[in-house]
Symmetry: C2
């Protein structure tokens, strides 16, 4: 742990790679010899062009996207995508399949209904408090699309493999596990991710949209709510969130050049999650909340024997330099979010702390 | 001019106060003793609470807003407001008055029409290429609202005084002159400003909305497009653009504590604009494009005797350390944007450069 820095287990906004932060800091008054801060340069300048083009190129390489995919940077977070997807891609007279795996899926489903469109919740894990990812889902072959939440930050579950949907495109909210592992992008119509967990700071949402989806976009939508507005102008119809895109670019560079790509990132993430789950599985004191086969490698949710002990745990952990271990306010308990930028050293230190805490309080 | 820094006359994103940039840089790895970067802290933390509350409090004091006004931070820029205003605040069966003073007004008008709502363009300066602000406008007393663009970055015009609209609320796009001068906020239903000119970096839009406007918001809008979603959750229904809000907060602090408020800021801006306009009025070589009584104190647009000379001027100015002097790509010519953070020293240096250039080329 670098001096003055804590072990950051925040659920989002979350830890960013230290070399990324240091590069931003070093160049903050004079970006790329421009004589201006990254926050002061024009989005129409050669400097910002290089930033956004590099961010796109690295994203394409990391995810192995072919030319059919557009990489866009929007504002409004994943929450705005909840309404833009049905608005743009669910034609009148058609229905969409949604899988409900928790808070974020529920919000996405709500936005379809607000628009008066038809949503079929084809599977849900609500019966057991969203502790698992549903299996053997009866998807509708004529659905306009299937929507899933690939990782559920609050309940600590994650799709280990993505579902087979035949020719029906998948729309996936990958806000909390984007770039944490490799996957085949081809079945996806839209992949979207609020940056503030794995790929950047709050204020930019990466939207990857397949070319054939753009043909569905109705002509009469408000300009800023049409995917084509962004795809036709390389995300620069209006001023993009330049600083957030720049930070995201540096995170993609770190993933490619320092980590060495998504296979290596996934191996590190497996190792980190394994350290925590293996320890908890051997402990009678800590208890994971998600079903074993649905466990998230990003958000490890767990309980202690009592709420009083949980409170004590979080308090002492904070004093010992571990941040963000409180569970989401809607569910309580504890949660260690171990996104890409949270290192093995941090997880190792946390396991040690958990052991010590158990010894003193178990 | 600080070492390695240029004189920044960008139209937006634009110059930020150097002390703001230096404070960001200094604290970038450890914000307020949190052991995390401002980009890594939770928006639900005590640290970010202090940031957003201070940003709001300073905005209230600077603009003398009473309790009826909500200060919100949205994403999507002013461009998203073009559609949110009619969507939220123009009821079916009513019409809105719009004044067309250039590119941005035209875009705002277009978004009303896309929604199939009724817009009355009650005045336009299109007849003379938007070189002036219309006078004696026949506003409709039963309009749902009047919409204006307070400053026109591309054509270099600005409302010297805001129009009298009786009891009809004014919706004002103040993206390019927000916080550049004091004004009476009470006639305004909504004041909105993309931050990236006068009040912060790209990625956040300040929206000030009067309480009585919120009663107009239809229940059935998508959640992220309703003003009430943001007013009821203090702009934190979902993750806000934390870094942009933080930078904005520091700009408000600079305005209050270093500049000394909007009266003093306005005096400085008057002086800066006066230096450029007075010089051009005495020159036969440089020619301002806006009518004298409609001139912007933010964007000084001007022409040289030929396009070849304009190109040479911009090129030599760039080499001499003056950035952003090219006119908007839609109109050509030259433009010096002199927002709050562009100092008197920069304007003085520019006038000197212009004199020298005229001597060599006049």
């Amino acid at each position: 742990m670098k001096e003055h820095r804590i072990y950051n287990f925040n659920a989002g906004p979350a830890a960013l790679p230290l070399p990324v932060l240091e590069e931003i800091q070093e160049n903050f008054l004079n970006f790329a010899g421009s004589g201006m801060s990254i926050t002061e340069i024009s989005h129409r300048s050669k400097w910002f062009d290089a930033v956004i083009e590099d961010a796109i190129a690295r994203t394409r390489r990391l995810l192995k996207l072919d030319d059919r995919f557009h990489v866009l940077f929007l504002q409004g977070g994943a929450s705005l995508q909840f309404c833009m997807i049905p608005m743009n891609l669910l034609p009148e007279g058609k229905a969409a399949d949604y899988v409900n795996t928790g808070t974020w899926s529920t919000k996405a489903i709500k936005e379809v209904k607000i628009q008066g469109k038809t949503v079929n919740v084809v599977a849900s894990s609500e019966d057991r408090d969203f502790a698992y990812i549903p299996k053997n889902i009866p998807f509708n072959p004529d659905a306009a699309y299937v929507h899933i939440t690939s990782n559920n930050t609050i309940k600590g579950t994650q799709w280990a493999e993505f579902p087979e949907t035949g020719s029906v495109p998948i729309m996936a909210d990958m806000s909390s596990d984007m770039m944490s592992r490799p996957f085949d992008p081809n079945p996806f119509g839209v992949i979207y991710a609020g940056a503030q967990k794995n790929i950047g700071p709050a204020g930019v949402c990466m939207v990857i949209i397949r070319e054939d989806m753009l043909a569905r976009v109705p002509q009469n939508l408000p300009t800023m709510l049409k995917y084509t507005t962004f795809s036709e102008k390389n995300s620069m119809f209006n001023t993009p969130p330049c600083f957030a895109v720049y930070t995201l670019q540096l995170v993609m560079k770190w993933l490619e050049e320092t980590v060495g790509g998504l296979d290596k990132m996934a191996a590190i993430n497996e190792k980190k999650a394994g350290m925590l789950y293996d320890f908890m599985d051997r402990s009678e004191f800590y208890r994971g909340t998600a079903d074993t086969d649905s466990r998230s490698r990003m958000n490890v949710t767990f309980r202690l024997p009592s709420e009083a002990l949980e409170q004590k745990f979080i308090q002492e952990a904070t004093q010992a330099g571990f941040g963000g271990l409180k569970g989401h306010r809607s569910v309580g308990g504890c949660r260690a979010s171990i996104y890409n930028a949270t290192g093995i050293d941090a997880v190792s230190a946390l396991v040690d702390f958990m052991k010590t805490f158990e010894k003193r309080n178990g």
